[in-house]
């Protein structure tokens, strides 16, 4: 080892922070294909490898499809693996995503959230990862650079748990978090080693005892294997919560388990969001609370598995739930988070009858200023009084009228 990584608390770029955190997890194999706005992460990691600062094997590939395929093979052989991608790159991995999850390989991948073409656009929304919600990957959405660092380490602990054995996406907002410079406590190698045990796969490829991974199964077995993935997803709920608490006792920082809440006790209006928007919403909640508005915030940290039980508990006594979706499930008129909360409310078996308002915001990098959120809350107030919500709407369209 010749090169040295930074350590301690300092102002670094979000991309450096996640590259550093991934390095601290000692991945055996890293493979990624550069794509904006993920490039700084893989540049930093390949620099670490070139400098001899980390012992990982860095596999150069010609596409994202190959990057993830290389990790599927490596992970099946028992290696701890890391990748990062975004947008079209993630879409190119689509087929391999199913394989990684179906083969139960705990790969960890940072998704630097970016919109999907067309029109081509390199800026942030959640369309890329939300579109992969059915692939069997755990999806964690994070709020700031520090949570990104800390959640990357937690992701290995969760995914590699033998009861889970599933791949994990850690989703960060492109540019907003990948290109921000802010204070971050970089993790100490010894402490990470203590927190994160070595990867011991349930089963691994072994030339002495040849086995076939991801083999062909006929209708006699296929459905049962899919059910096993769902069971593992279900098991991951507790593990995500446990990992967050274990991290707290080791490092003193906690961001919630499957969800986090902010001033939700007794709140009439509950805002729901994922990712960096949550930070802005905290400021808005503080501001409106001072003005006497009964508003709280529910952050969805795990979108997969979807934490419907936790959400229902929080919204049970609210007068209106306001979901801010940075994605649009075209043809439904609303974002996926809105749809899933509505679905969960309906079959909850309880008598929770709270109106849900969906707002599609911030697509393709459209900024979400405080004023936009305040206008949304003003609308929510009228719904809180009437108890009747309408269809979801696109917020802040500039060149079209709705």
């Amino acid at each position: 080892m010749t090169g040295k990584l930074k350590s301690g608390r300092m102002v670094v770029e979000g991309s450096y922070a996640v590259a550093h955190a991934a390095a601290m997890c000692r991945p055996d194999v890293i493979s990624a294909y550069p794509i904006t706005p993920q490039t700084h992460i893989v540049e930093d990691l390949s620099q670490f490898v070139a400098d001899g600062a980390i012992d990982s094997k860095y596999i150069n590939v010609e596409s994202e499809f190959s990057a993830l395929s290389a990790l599927v093979g490596s992970s099946a052989a028992g290696a701890r693996t890391y990748s990062a991608t975004t947008s079209q790159g993630l879409a190119l991995m689509h087929e391999v995503l199913f394989n990684a999850a179906g083969m139960r390989l705990p790969i960890v991948m940072t998704i630097v959230n970016r919109s999907m073409s067309a029109p081509i656009n390199i800026w942030n929304d959640h369309q890329d990862s939300v579109a992969e919600r059915d692939t069997g990957w755990i999806q964690l959405y994070i709020e700031d650079a520090q949570e990104l660092v800390d959640t990357t380490v937690q992701a290995y602990l969760i995914g590699e748990d033998p009861d889970v054995s599933l791949p994990v996406m850690v989703c960060m907002d492109g540019f907003i978090l990948s290109h921000v410079f802010e204070p971050v406590e970089l993790l100490d190698q010894e402490k990470v080693d203590e927190f994160l045990p070595q990867f011991s796969p349930v089963r691994a490829l072994d030339p002495e005892n040849p086995e076939s991974f991801g083999m062909f199964v006929d209708p006699e077995y296929y459905m049962d294997f899919r059910y096993l993935v769902e069971q593992a997803m279900d098991a991951s709920r507790q593990k995500i919560a446990d990992a967050a608490r274990k991290f707290e006792s080791a490092f003193g920082r906690y961001y919630g388990g499957l969800i986090d809440t902010y001033h939700t006790d007794g709140a009439e209006i509950i805002l729901v969001a994922m990712g960096s928007l949550v930070g802005t919403l905290r400021d808005v909640v503080d501001d409106l609370r001072e003005k006497g508005v009964s508003v709280g915030l529910l952050k969805i940290r795990a979108f997969r598995p979807f934490p419907i039980d936790e959400i229902l508990k929080v919204v049970a006594r609210a007068k209106v739930v306001v979901v801010l979706d940075k994605n649009i499930s075209l043809g439904t008129g609303e974002g996926a988070v809105t749809t899933e909360i509505k679905a969960g409310l309906y079959d909850s078996g309880s008598d929770i009858r709270v109106p849900v308002m969906g707002f599609v915001v911030g697509l393709g990098g459209r900024d979400i200023p405080v004023g936009t959120v305040q206008r949304i809350v003003a609308k929510a107030k009228t719904v809180a009084e009437s108890g009747v919500s309408g269809r979801s709407e696109f917020v802040d369209l500039k060149h079209l009228r709705v």
């Binding site: 083969m103 349930v202 089963r203 086995e211 076939s212 991801g214 083999m215 199964v217 294997f225």
Partner: protein, 87 residues
């Protein structure tokens, strides 16, 4: 039966799967005509044509020969004939 946590199993082997039974026509190799060129070995999709031990002419492994007839068609010496196999 209990399933493993993931679709992992003993790899199958084509050695265990004797495909000779699929055959209707059987290639009969005539060593008199064979010049040992090896074309049949090259073309056999099953990879089961080989040189006779200690000799220069070729023969199929009938445990696996599916009777497709490619070897007979490709043989430049017409040394292979496809004959209806009695079962």
């Amino acid at each position: 039966m209990t399933l493993p946590y993931a679709p992992i199993g003993k790899p199958g082997s084509s050695v265990a799967n004797k495909t000779g039974g699929w055959r209707i026509f059987i290639p009969v190799f005539n060593a008199e005509l064979c010049n040992g060129c090896g074309t049949c070995e090259t073309f056999c999709p099953e990879g089961i044509v080989h040189k006779i031990e200690g000799g220069d002419t070729f023969i199929a492994d009938y445990d696996y020969c599916k009777g497709c007839g490619i070897c007979a068609r490709e043989c430049p010496k017409d040394a292979i004939t496809m004959e209806l196999e009695e079962k």
